[in-house]
């Protein structure tokens, strides 16, 4: 459950990260591929090596979607409706991978924000990303 203050902080952070969406997104993806090689199986059609244009584009797409969701967290189901359909019927990514990606995103944020990634912000962010992932998987079955 996210408090009003937590939602504000989350929205603030993702707005600040929007200009560097490419860097944040690709960093999180690379971490995930390195720690959890099974996740690479979903990307056999792309070049996911460090610095590749595919990776940067894809990372940017993901971060912008997260940032969009962060703008109004109480409306996640509405905002994510098209992405829910995409993931359920086309991508069919096993939802356990959402947890792995979320963890890597938290690490990316920790590296990026250093001491500013306080325990309180970490907790709020973890809750938000969990909620995001849960909504994303809603149409799976």
């Amino acid at each position: 459950m996210l408090s009003k203050r937590e939602k504000e902080v989350i929205a603030e952070i993702w707005e600040r990260l929007t200009p560097v969406a490419e860097d944040i997104g690709s960093d999180a993806l690379l971490r995930m591929f390195a720690s959890y090689p099974g996740t690479k199986t979903y990307f056999s059609h792309l070049d996911i090596s460090s610095g590749s244009s595919h990776l940067l584009l894809h990372g940017k797409k993901i971060v912008l979607a997260i940032a969009e969701g962060a703008k109004d967290i109480s409306q996640l189901t509405v905002t994510l409706a098209p992405l829910q359909t995409l993931h359920a019927y086309q991508l069919r990514i096993d939802p356990t991978n959402f947890k792995l990606f979320s963890h890597c995103m938290l690490v990316t944020l920790a590296c990026h924000m250093g001491d500013d990634f306080t325990p309180v912000i970490h907790a709020a962010m973890d809750k938000f990303l969990s909620a995001f992932a849960a909504v994303l998987a809603e149409k799976y079955r």
Binding site: D27, L30, R31, A110, C111, D115, H122
Partner: protein
């Protein structure tokens, strides 16, 4: 037996020789108690855990964080026999402390975040993978003697 690459060994030794145990231990444990509040169930006798500020400034939490990190050092110094090194500690956590072994992973994740925040860009994807592999072995070893 766990196989460690040269990179993984060097990375683990490197990280642990460069962190201040007295800072990182308390930071990781207090973070765990804040981010995963249900872990507070094991710390009933630790006094005020009422909110994040209280947890972070709690001297018993800080002290225990140091104990945990020093315990981790044993694995760092015995990377080829972590399971054996932790056999006793595993029994302790199971028989005496009654800690759900899923909690070990939560603390490990918080430790990863603390180290990442400290190392910034130097905590690359490959370094993270090595660190997480090490912690996974530790977590598994601590859960080994549960029955």
């Amino acid at each position: 037996m766990v196989e460690w690459t040269d990179f993984e060994r060097a990375t683990i030794q490197d990280i642990f020789s460069n962190i201040d145990y007295d800072v990182v231990g308390p930071a990781a444990l207090s973070r765990c108690l804040v981010v995963y509040p249900w872990t507070q169930r094991y710390f009933g006798g630790f006094g005020n855990l009422y909110n994040a500020a209280a947890i972070i400034s709690n001297p018993m939490v800080a002290n225990h964080g140091k104990v945990v990190l020093r315990g981790l050092e044993r694995a760092v110094n015995n990377m080829d026999s972590i399971k054996e090194t932790y056999a006793e500690l595993s029994v302790l956590h199971s028989e005496k402390l009654h800690v759900d072994p899923d909690n070990f992973k939560l603390l490990a994740d918080c430790l990863t975040i603390v180290v990442a925040a400290q190392m910034g860009g130097a905590f690359t994807g490959d370094v993270q993978a090595a660190f997480q592999k090490f912690l996974a072995v530790v977590v598994s070893s601590l859960g080994r003697q549960y029955h």
